[in-house]
Symmetry: C2
Subunit: 305 residues, 2 copies
């Protein structure tokens, strides 16, 4: 587990293969996913979210997640920690069937968002997830429990801190080792991040905190830095800044892996990421997608040549 | 003068008409500049840099600066403070001839950058500017003195703090009311900003500080927030994120006016800017330029409709 008091290292979880690809209309065949994974691992990413066990009719991009994970388990034995998203019992069953050791789960703290996104009230989704966390940890998996819309919701506006702390209690009691606070609709500012992170850390000092930040208002890196200042040492990123929230238009864009790596490097904080290699991966991805991605460092490196 | 201790208001100086347009190959006729100015003033911008008195052969976009300022002085009597860039005696003469009351000047703290950009060593450029500041203040103008490459230089790397403090002393002694610290090649991180701003404030508490930040590595808003936290209350912006540094490839992109206004609004800090109006101006500018600009809030507002 990453030490939240260690100032010298942050863990960037690359979610290109899951959060990044899930919004794309182009279906990436298994071989391309394997190649992208190898590039990410080769660039030094220590944790990679590679797929999700959700309804393949709803998210066809992720239909080959079992196959991908089975293929990766053989070659990634000493490589990055593999992660996959599950949302229900069926997903857990599929995760167990392919032998992944770590899963990510997620519910929304906003009732309106939960109803629109997951089709159930937030309280029901939360208690359902508590049960799922218990099942997963009893089956020997390590679990990261995510909370969507933590810093505000386009439907509900501000979110009560008490609701976030309550969800954190539920996650921790059920056995989650990490809580992922997500700014799903990109509404957080640096002061919000710092305030809430400090509250959660004070409330549950042993619980690892990670941040999933969206860059739609351009505050991704500002919020990431504020999280770092408040003690967070795990951040989600996507190569090139791909992905974002599929349920709120205009909320697209994760924090680019390469720009986050550059920021931390500039601050003297290690990420283990090779900037030139990750920018080459941005190039591969842009080639496959046929468009330029929002991340900046590939352009900056090219100009410095 | 903006009170550096006031937490509730920041002044955004929009530089679209100067820093923004100067890199464009399309020449904007006077009528379009007047229209853009009216839109910026109507959106609530309180200080607008409208042109520069530099060699019209080198920067043809700015050739009509006298004409523009003469036209604006009549209609902007109770409007935004007009600003224009000058670099030498000839520029000061032209500024005085059209009756502008405030000028901006700029030298580089990096010797290599100064040689490439201004064709003279940094020390010579600095002493030349001291003389120019004296002439301008004696002629009744208020002066902002800018320092390029303050947070690092692509040619020289780190810049000594002592060189920045020395330049600040020279500017203040010569009569400048404001020092503009520029991250010309977009190399600063939030810790650099906070450290240097606090040093300059401590060294010269009466000197107003403003920041000119480039967004090429995506850290524009993160650095702006760090500057705000360190006490800066004046920031340069360009509508849509236009412009940047013409002398270093890849360094393009000022902090977008609309994204800065949104960030401060979210923090509870007033800028006086109407977000919908400034996003409409981004639309006008994108229409004239025939391309999408990097600023985010126009897209976010359109998605929220």
């Amino acid at each position: 587990m990453t030490d939240q008091t260690n100032d010298d290292f942050v863990l960037l979880e690359d979610e290109t293969l899951r959060d990044g690809l899930q919004l794309e209309s182009r279906i990436f065949p298994l071989e391309e996913k394997l190649d992208l994974f190898r590039q990410l691992a080769g660039a030094g990413l220590a944790r990679i979210q590679v797929g999700s066990f959700v309804n393949p009719k709803r998210v066809p991009q992720m239909a080959d997640s079992e196959e991908l994970i089975r293929a990766l388990r053989h070659e990634a034995e000493n490589g990055p920690l593999l992660s996959a998203l599950i949302l229900n019992d069926k997903g857990l069953e599929r995760a167990l069937s392919c032998g992944i050791g770590h899963v990510s789960m997620s519910v929304s703290v906003s009732n309106s968002h939960s109803l629109k996104n997951a089709g159930k009230p937030a309280a029901e989704a939360l208690s359902g997830m508590a049960g799922l966390i218990r099942q997963a940890t009893e089956a020997g998996l390590s679990v990261r429990a995510g909370l969507q819309c933590t810093f505000g919701c386009v439907y509900e506006g501000a979110i009560a801190e008490a609701a976030v702390l309550n969800a954190a209690d539920v996650f921790a009691s059920a056995g989650a080792g990490e809580i992922n606070l997500a700014d799903t609709t990109g509404m957080a500012n640096p002061l919000d991040i710092e305030r809430l992170v400090r509250k959660v850390r004070k409330h549950l000092p042993a619980l690892q905190i990670s941040l999933h930040l969206h860059d739609n208002r351009g505050l991704g890196l500002a919020n990431m830095f504020a999280g770092y200042q408040a003690g967070v040492r795990i951040f989600d990123v996507c190569t090139g800044g791909l992905g974002g929230c599929p349920f709120v238009r205009g909320a697209a864009g994760n924090v680019p892996t390469e720009d986050a790596a550059q920021m931390f490097s500039s601050l003297g904080v290690k990420t283990g990421i090779d900037l030139r290699k990750i920018c080459a991966t941005v190039g591969s991805l842009e080639g496959l997608l046929g468009r330029k991605l929002p991340g900046r460092m590939k352009t900056v490196l090219a100009a410095e040549k």
